[in-house]
């Protein structure tokens, strides 16, 4: 089956979208950019192809009578099972890497204790991993680095203590190893993992095994050809393919937003390090654009910095700002000054949620200025990028749009983070068509 792939290499995350020749999205994948765009591109592409497999499974299973009304549940189980298999494979790799990195002069005298500790921590990690992928389990992140890192640190401390080993020493080994593991290109051979996951899922279910397994296996046999790949985003020049396969993210975002909402005329994208306002015509062709420059004020990184300053998770900022009873006026939109302004406000006794509401307003005000320089807002307006997931930012944006431009249809797609990659995939399809 012909696949057209768009990869958006952002400063924070790398996204991929797989499209079929009928311009239907088959799959989406995301990973952290890890300062290694080659690997990030490979991982996100693989993730999107995995997701595409699930789409094919869904198509195959839709005609199975025994699964009527239960396809979602089954696929959910299958995916958790698959993720668990995938996780365990990476855990194996991480353990082998940690073991390899526990040798050498600097570990003289503690090698044996270190080996026992590593073995024990990974034993525990495997043992408890089932719970991480159990139905309803909430994971703070889907990236291996984040899940494994958080659990490793929690499990390792008591084990180190019991062994009389320095926790710092083990952390050094871990830090070095996770970077190696993370930067290793993903292994292929997805099929085996799917089959293992299928066996596990079917083992615990009261379903006619053959009826279910047959369409899944048939879907697995469909080859997913990478017919054309288009790269975009800051890491685009790092992509291992020729220049014709590279598109600017402005064009990709414009086209992606058009595909999501055909009546889009103005697009705002607030990403990790830039904010873009793009005007597109009725075909999704870019007419004009403006970006922040020389300064990251008003970008996603601003919120990241604020989250670090407040010792909060990035995803916790929006919900807290939503609890505000008033919006404080924050004058500085400078990312670095935000920290000073924040501490100053806290010292004055202002509430965190009110300050946060003000900070969200500040970033949106910056975006409004970029929008107006690009030519203002025309109906319909589509908001994309990581910050579109932040409800407090969206609330401020809606308010300011209403004040400045009146009633405008505002589109925010739950998959908006994939807008650039979607546009890339569409360009890939067009390149061949």
């Amino acid at each position: 089956m012909k696949c057209f792939i768009g990869i958006d290499l952002g400063s924070t995350t790398t996204k991929a979208v797989v499209m079929d020749e009928n311009a239907q999205v088959l799959g989406r994948g995301i990973t952290n950019s890890r300062s290694n765009y080659d690997t990030a591109a490979a991982v996100s592409k693989q993730e999107a192809l995995i997701d595409a497999r699930f789409t094919l499974f869904r198509r195959g299973l839709s005609g199975v009578p025994a699964l009527a009304g239960k396809v979602d549940g089954f696929l959910g189980d299958l995916e958790r099972s698959f993720r668990h298999v995938q996780f365990l494979e990476q855990v194996d790799d991480l353990e082998a890497t940690c073991t390899k990195n526990s040798k050498g002069l600097r570990f003289a005298g503690s090698e044996a204790a270190l080996a026992r500790t590593v073995a024990e921590v990974f034993r525990q990690l495997r043992e408890e991993s089932g719970a991480l992928f159990a139905p309803g389990a909430r994971r703070k992140s889907d990236f291996f680095r984040d899940i494994a890192g958080a659990r490793f640190v929690t499990l390792a401390e008591p084990v180190c203590k019991a062994e009389g080993l320095s926790f710092e020493l083990l952390l050094n080994v871990y830090d070095k190893s996770i970077i190696e593991v993370e930067n290793r290109p993903p292994s292929g051979a997805m099929e085996g993992k799917f089959l293992r996951a299928l066996d596990r899922t079917l083992a615990g279910a009261s379903l006619p095994k053959d009826d279910v397994a047959r369409p899944v296996k048939a879907a697995l046999e469909i080859p997913l050809e990478e017919t054309y790949v288009v790269g975009t985003g800051y890491g685009r020049v790092r992509l291992p393919f020729p220049k014709e396969h590279i598109r600017s993210e402005i064009l990709c975002h414009g086209l992606g937003a058009h595909i999501m909402y055909a009546d889009t005329r103005t697009v705002l994208d607030i990403g990790g390090q830039d904010t873009k306002a793009i005007q597109v015509d009725k075909d999704g062709i870019v007419e004009n654009f403006q970006m922040n420059d020389r300064c990251a004020a008003g970008t996603g990184r601003y919120l990241g910095y604020v989250a670090d300053e407040m010792k909060m998770g990035l995803h916790e900022l929006g919900p807290m700002a939503m609890k505000a009873t008033k919006t404080l006026r924050i004058n500085s939109t400078c990312t670095v000054f935000a920290g000073a302004e924040l501490r100053d406000r806290l010292a004055l006794g202002d509430k965190r949620e009110d300050i946060l509401a003000g900070l969200h307003r500040a970033i949106i005000l910056r975006a409004m200025s970029i929008i107006s320089r690009s030519g203002g807002i025309r109906d319909q307006f589509t908001f994309t990028g990581g910050v579109a997931k932040n409800e407090a930012a969206v609330k401020e944006l809606r308010k300011l749009i209403k004040e400045n431009y009146g009633d405008v249809t505002i589109n925010i797609n739950p998959d908006s983070i994939y807008t650039g990659a979607l546009g890339g995939a569409a360009f890939a399809l067009r390149a061949v068509a």
């Binding site: 600017s248 993210e249 402005i250 830039d274 062709i285 870019v286 004009n288 420059d293 320089r373």
Partner: protein, 437 residues
């Protein structure tokens, strides 16, 4: 606001090939040597600015012409302007002040060393032709304060209504007669000779003819020149201390010959990496280039097949492409017309008209604006200019922001990102027009 010597000309192969480059380099070096050896030779030195500079008149008094903006550009390209700007900021000039000014004041504070490595002498006179840039006036106030030398200010009326009236002309001529010429006589000890001025003006007009021919060669496809990155070299002699000299006439004669040869061979512009091969995008550019990352900036264009066919920056020291030439038969009046017509002295509507004319005459694909962070005078209104050009021509515009000589304000990744987006946007538009047709 002007060019630089092709001193840092790229590969020896090109230097050998382009005789005009060698010639210009020699001219600039000789001028710096004459200026820095003034204390020994006893020659007098005038400082003046590029827009509205009265080089032919200064030559009538045997005055050497030192142009502070050119020094700032030289220092920008040699990557020393950053230090000078820091020095000026240390002395109290704010971050937002024009970086030409700060590079100059910083250079003065740090020994006033000319690009030839020798100290610049104290100027004997400051001559300001006030042609639209308010900063120039403040700049010379600071320089005057430092050197306590005679200062002449020629008030050039702003072309607010888009035309030059007889009143404007006579107002300038009167100042030339009553103030500028008598002061220059006093400073130099040389009596004014109008026939000498006529002689220089005749020379200017010759050079101007060839210069215009060269710039307008960009109407051809492929264009044999880049009217911005190459253009800043081509304006060198005529915008600075050489207009009116035989050397300048000779330079433009050589240059024209070289360009004629390129046309005959069907060659594109010379770039630091050799002849430009494909020309996918023809652009008109508004605003000066960035000097501290000039090469890197240029590369972003030729790597993508973008050639600049016309630019407003190459008109700041005189606008010749609509017929104006220095006229030896009306020597003072022609100086007035020259000052009135420079790009910096033109109103926003005039700038829009000029750019629109370039878009059409040079069959450009779009207008690119390089807005200068520290130039409040000319950055104001540029977004409006872009919109208006888009509206009138239906061609896409784009906006990037850098600075003149402050290395802190050139964000390569950002500029490249915008330029590439812009070029792809032009492509996309072309395709959609083609498919609609």
């Amino acid at each position: 606001m002007t060019p630089k010597t092709p001193a840092a000309a790229p590969s020896p192969r090109e230097v050998v090939k382009e005789l005009s480059m060698v010639k210009q380099k020699e001219m600039i070096a000789a001028n710096y040597d004459a200026i820095t050896s003034a204390p020994e030779t006893g020659r007098k030195v005038a400082s003046t600015f590029v827009p509205g500079n009265l080089n032919e008149l200064l030559m009538c008094f045997d005055l050497l012409n030192n142009l502070p903006e050119i020094n700032a550009i030289q220092n920008g390209m040699k990557k020393v302007s950053g230090d000078y700007i820091n020095e000026a900021e240390k002395r109290g000039h704010s971050e937002d002040v024009c970086t030409y000014v700060k590079a100059d004041l910083g250079m003065m504070a740090k020994g006033n060393i000319a690009p030839n490595g020798k100290p610049l002498p104290r100027p004997d006179v400051l001559l300001l032709s006030y042609t639209g840039c308010f900063t120039f006036m403040k700049w010379f106030e600071l320089v005057r304060d430092e050197y306590k030398c005679p200062t002449i200010m020629l008030q050039v009326p702003y072309q607010a209504d888009g035309k030059i009236t007889a009143n404007m002309r006579s107002y300038i001529v009167k100042q030339l007669k009553d103030d500028v010429i008598p002061t220059l006589e006093k400073v130099s000890g040389v009596k004014f000779d109008i026939d000498r001025l006529r002689e220089y003006l005749r020379e200017s007009a010759k050079a101007e003819d060839d210069f215009v021919w060269v710039m307008q060669s960009a109407k051809k496809k492929p264009s044999p020149i880049d009217a911005y990155f190459g253009g800043v070299y081509y304006i060198g002699p005529i915008f600075t201390a050489f207009r009116g000299t035989r050397d300048a006439t000779e330079y433009y004669r050589l240059l024209r010959g070289e360009i004629e040869e390129r046309i005959a061979k069907g060659l594109g512009p010379v770039t630091p990496e050799g002849d430009m091969k494909s020309q996918k995008y023809r652009l008109v550019v508004e605003g000066p280039p960035n000097w501290t990352s000039f090469r890197e900036f240029w590369k972003m264009f030729y790597d993508e097949g973008a050639v600049v066919v016309a630019s407003s920056y190459t008109k700041v020291g005189g606008t010749y492409d609509f017929g104006f030439r220095h006229d030896p038969d009306h020597p003072l009046e022609t100086l007035a017309d020259y000052c009135l017509g420079v790009y910096t002295n033109r109103s926003l509507p005039m700038r829009v008209d000029l750019l629109e004319n370039y878009m059409r005459e040079y069959d450009a694909d779009g207008l690119l604006i390089n807005s200068i962070k520290s130039c409040n005078s000319f950055s104001a209104g540029q977004l409006m200019i872009m919109r208006e050009i888009e509206k009138r021509t239906g061609k896409p515009g784009a906006f990037i922001e850098t600075d003149l000589v402050d290395p802190r304000y050139f964000s390569a990744a950002n500029v490249k990102n915008r330029l590439e987006s812009y070029f792809q946007m032009i492509d996309q538009k072309r395709k959609s027009v083609a498919s609609a047709a």
